[in-house]
Symmetry: C2
């Protein structure tokens, strides 16, 4: 069985591949995002390549193999289902569950995982709006528009927050942008590096484009829509 360390490496590699969409994830990014020294990253990634989970190109970077991707998605599934469970069942705050899941993701058996999945009625997204891979390792990798890209003066719904920092998540909550919340972007000012929007209380708020990029949105659901009946 893969160690927690290996699971963390492949999971992080997957997340960086998604975030950067690069041909290869540079070693520096791996090291930085895992909080280890570059030398350690090199050593471990070589071991990962040895065991067939990654393809390593010296002085260029790494990429997950098919097997590595499968493992990464399994870990991610455990992580996100645990987050959802902790929020919905035990009432933890959505800003604090990431940290908890970081440990739990390595010790949840398939049996417990399946129970949680059923208990929560097979959720598609975790409390931060991150998509949950299904039991077969399929995941919705669609990139939603953010407050930086969406059309001005039209209604949107927050679907995902691309940040796990408790302070940031609490800030997001304070400005009314938790997943499910309505927004309408009023204006963008490239020079001021600011995006101004109205939340569901019609309150006007401005954030930097760096922050705006972390708030993903989608078209609001049709009211005529049948809820959750799309086999």
């Amino acid at each position: 069985m893969p160690s927690s360390t290996v699971e963390n490496y492949v999971k992080q590699m997957y997340l960086l591949e998604q975030e950067l969409q690069p041909d290869l994830v540079p070693m520096g990014r791996m090291a930085a995002s895992l909080g280890i020294t570059p030398g350690t990253a090199t050593t471990m990634v070589k071991a990962l390549a040895e065991s067939g989970l990654a393809d390593y190109e010296p002085r260029s970077g790494v990429r997950l193999t098919e097997g590595g991707r499968r493992l990464a998605l399994h870990v991610l599934r455990r992580h996100r289902l645990v987050e959802a469970f902790l929020v919905k069942t035990l009432g933890l705050d959505w800003s604090e569950v990431h940290e908890e899941a970081e440990q739990l993701e390595h010790v949840i058996s398939d049996k417990v995982l399946e129970r949680i999945d059923v208990y929560l009625n097979r959720p598609r997204r975790d409390p931060h709006g991150d998509p949950i891979p299904d039991g077969r390792g399929r995941i919705d990798e669609a990139r939603e528009p953010t407050l930086n890209d969406c059309s001005l003066s039209s209604p949107w719904v927050v679907v995902r927050i691309h940040d796990q920092e408790p302070e940031f998540l609490q800030f997001v909550e304070r400005i009314g942008l938790t997943p499910g919340g309505r927004v309408e972007v009023c204006s963008r000012d490239r020079i001021a590096d600011a995006v101004t929007f109205r939340n569901h209380h019609a309150k006007e708020i401005s954030v930097s484009t760096a922050v705006a990029a972390k708030i993903a949105v989608a078209a609001p659901p049709n009211d005529v829509d049948t809820q959750g009946g799309t086999k």
Copy 2:
């Protein structure tokens, strides 16, 4: 923070102290019950002594210090609350939760633990009837009588099973002796090494004294009793 390994050692040491009530737990028992070689046990126990969790007397055995006992009870609390939670909330079988809890006990934060405790309404016992230490490290260490000690021909209630093996627990269930079940011992035959009892279906069953020793019982509750009102 103590590693999982250290937590397993002190927990096991506590369990052996309770089971054997010896002055010192012999190294051989430690090694056997943890499934490691005697040499490893010696090395680790010396390290435990170094860090103040145990008192080690070469060629005699070990004993937990006050600090070691505190840690052991904290781990035991996590273990048993997790077992209760898995059975009551996620519907796992009581025979399979021990194994799951063996891993989860090392990664449950104080916050999650407290939520589970509240969610379950601060249970006093886990699914096997094992007492759950409270948040301050207090535990009911009372030794209940077993099918080997209790009076003949009078009603008793099963309160605890002193074994965690799935097959044994399933067997116990099959003969109707899960915690809460009624029993009445009909006879004991020292020579035949057998104990014969009637379960709540009035069915007569015989088991060896070794098995009988694992079934702890208590006097049935007074029907006039006020349920759960003893501050």
